[in-house]
Point group: C2
DNA sequence: TTACACAATGTTATAATATAACAAATTATT
DNA sequence: AATAATTTGTTATATTATAACATTGTGTAA
């Protein structure tokens, strides 16, 4: 059997939900929302999430244990991700800045380690929350 | 009462343990190790960890849910952190690179958002693991 | 076209991570 | 000493995530 190059039913259900959401979704919130579609157990959701992250369709916001759809067509795989996170309203935006990604992808320190992946999370107050 | 500017007993116990460790420690591993010192409940550990993170004595490796002592004297508070993580042996090193931190601290995108904090995690294979 | 290999799914149970709520003890200032 | 605030202790529980294994689906090749 070939390696799958399409989405399975569960993956599609989870992806559809995450893509419709304007903010990051938690795994158990996803579970709750897809129960009407037949996904009853956490593992069904986590397995779909794992695969979707692996192929770059969604990203995990590590500091929030939450998931967002990829808004960056360059993210074929999730190996170079950057987000801005509002510490007040928790709004998350994927940063798509070629200078930044170039800078980080080429970054080397004195450890002799070559990085094949990074994740960057910026925190602050979004425009709306700053003006409150 | 003044805001505390020293470590409490529990905080000191937890910090001592984390500082002695060469790799990141998980909260429940910390709990297990400090039980002989009298910290019996998860909350006692989590409260100490929260405070230690807040004042920059330790950092949380978000992708691993683990904690490391700060190796960077500049980290008065944990508002600008970068780590390299080996995906094979899980060795974590704090990156202390002034060009990088300057670049990221001054980073602005078109969202108009001003960031007061960031966390960056690089992934790859460390020297040892690369040569296996 | 059926047997096979393997991927994906379903299911139950449980592990691992983290916080809520509240009572008690400690400590600094009045 | 009275007080106010912080820290601690304690029980219970919420949240996040995975182990283990049985079952079903699907592409490939005999």
């Amino acid at each position: 059997m070939q390696k799958q190059n399409f989405l399975t039913k569960n993956q599609q259900i989870v992806l559809d939900l995450v893509e419709k959401s304007s903010q990051p979704l938690k795994a158990y919130s996803i579970l709750f929302n897809v129960q009407k579609k037949g996904l009853k157990a956490p593992l069904q959701v986590y397995r779909a999430l794992d695969k979707l992250v692996e192929i770059g369709k969604i990203h995990k916001i590590e500091s929030r244990n939450a998931f967002v759809a990829c808004k960056n067509s360059n993210c074929v795989v999730s190996n170079a991700t950057a987000f801005s996170i509002c510490e007040s309203c928790e709004k998350v935006t994927e940063i798509n800045n070629s200078k930044l990604s170039k800078y980080l992808s080429n970054f080397e320190d004195n450890s002799g380690m070559k990085y094949n992946k990074y994740n960057l999370e910026f925190f602050g107050l979004c425009k709306k929350c700053k003006n409150k």
